[in-house]
């Protein structure tokens, strides 16, 4: 039992090291690299598909729970296979291209959306010593790549030859670029405090407490701003103007059907997962267990919970929070949305940066 727990604890980093050493012993360097790349690709695709299925089901179950109804409960045990059945249904649907659409851009857009969502996976630390790319500018990479998302949305909306799509895409463009600013500024507070852009170093700097506790008031302000901004950036309600069902049918993906629609849908959910993972990494310590200062005994007990469990637990908590928003707040109008960003969130986060700088210089954090 103890042995099994040990394996479970070190699972990801241990397994990857074992595979690596075995490959190195069996093949030469080039083949090892190629095989590792293939394995990584297959693993990421598997994670992608699994996350998509889980998140769609979770969204529907959470919605049902909040609205006091049952939700999907027929397919599989407790409705577990509902999203698999939905995927199968989308697979056999015809993928249409409307007349007069820009065919090349119309078909390219879902690929771009998937590519951006996939690229964002690179610097995320899923468990202790387990990440694809230990990038020294991880935070900058995340904010740079995530802003490419808007290109696929604009492409899809413009190429569809549909006025609703175009309107949705324009709204989404204005919204995503606006909220990117306060998301970036709120991320910077943690960068100032930890003095690094490397996601792994930021996690290690939280080994005596997560930044949301260590950085008290200013970091809590920036955490709240971050959550609002990423909710808007991923086009989720109450900021889902880009696909406001009651006004624009489905916004930028009105004309998409079948598998291309499914790809957009998947990319959207993966984006939600990734921004929540970033939030968990920066503010809630990523895979770092819940530690309090120098309480060695307490910290040691907390270390018994595997790091991957901590990471996914925090991430899914944030995802739940964002799903909760959807059923709590009504949708904003476009002018209200832009006012919220430019007149409130942006000045507050700029002021907050100054506050954090003063705090960091004086050492007023734990």
């Amino acid at each position: 039992m103890g042995k099994l727990w040990e394996v479970f604890m070190l699972s990801f980093s241990k397994i990857s090291q074992l595979i690596d050493s075995w490959l190195r012993a069996t093949f030469n360097a080039t083949w090892t690299m190629v095989i590792e790349m293939v394995i990584a690709g297959v693993c990421v695709i598997g994670l992608f598909a699994a996350l998509g299925l889980v998140l769609v089901l979770m969204e529907r179950r959470v919605a049902a729970w909040i609205q006091i109804r049952l939700g999907p409960n027929r397919v599989g045990p407790g409705g577990m296979l509902q999203s698999l059945a939905d995927t199968l249904k989308l697979l056999v649907k015809e993928g249409m291209t409307p007349d007069g659409a820009d065919k090349f851009l119309f078909n390219l857009a879902p690929f771009i959306a998937m590519m951006v969502a996939m690229l964002l996976m690179a610097p995320i630390a899923f468990a202790k010593d387990f990440q694809l790319w230990d990038l020294n500018i991880g935070v900058l990479y995340i904010s740079a790549v995530s802003s490419l998302m808007v290109i696929s949305i604009l492409m899809a909306g413009w190429a569809s030859n549909n006025k609703y799509s175009l309107m949705g895409a324009m709204r989404s463009g204005a919204q995503i670029v606006s909220y990117e600013l306060s998301a970036g500024l709120s991320i910077l507070t943690v960068v100032i405090l930890s003095g690094s852009l490397n996601l792994n170093e930021i996690i290690l700097s939280q080994s005596d407490g997560w930044w949301i506790f260590k950085g008290h008031i200013p970091v809590i302000i920036s955490f709240v701003i971050f959550i609002i901004a990423v909710t808007a950036e991923t086009n989720r309600a109450p900021f889902d103007l880009a696909e406001a069902e009651s006004e624009l049918t489905a916004g930028f993906h009105t004309e998409y059907s079948g598998m291309k629609f499914a790809l957009f849908f998947l990319a959207e959910y993966i984006n939600v997962f990734i921004v929540c993972a970033i939030g968990a990494t920066l503010f809630l310590g990523g895979w770092m267990p819940f530690h309090i200062g120098h309480w060695e005994g307490f910290n040691h007990v907390m270390d018994f919970i595997p790091s991957s469990l901590w990471f996914f637990g925090k991430t899914f908590f944030l995802i739940f929070l964002i799903m909760w928003f959807r059923w709590t707040f009504p949708r904003l109008r476009i002018d209200q949305l832009l006012n919220l960003e430019w007149k409130y969130l942006l000045p507050i986060s700029m002021f907050n940066i100054l506050l954090v700088t003063v705090m960091a210089i004086l050492g007023w954090y734990f």
Partner: protein, 116 residues
Amino acid sequence: MGASSMIVLILAALTFSSIAILIAKIVTKATTNKQKGQPYECGIPTQGKTWTQLNVGYYLFALIFLIFDVELVFLFPWAVVAKKVGWMALVEIIVFFFILFMGFLYAHKKGALKWM
């Protein structure tokens, strides 16, 4: 894995999406007719061209965003060393934000932040 992970991820995304779309193409039976190809705008036949002029507000916000985004890029290297540099970093950022805020106020005064 290093920088090669980017290539791996791009290839993974491309293979995943193309396989999914290819399978869908094989299993589905596609038929087309004139009505089916029309864009869906609440079931009413489309009026006029799609690619017409849009509200200038969207473009104005994109322009203001450009200024602030460049500012954000300048802040990243500053944020990394801010704690080490100390009070000088605070002075610099106050000057930086002051100039930026003046521009922001100017845009606000000109009515660029108002939705028309």
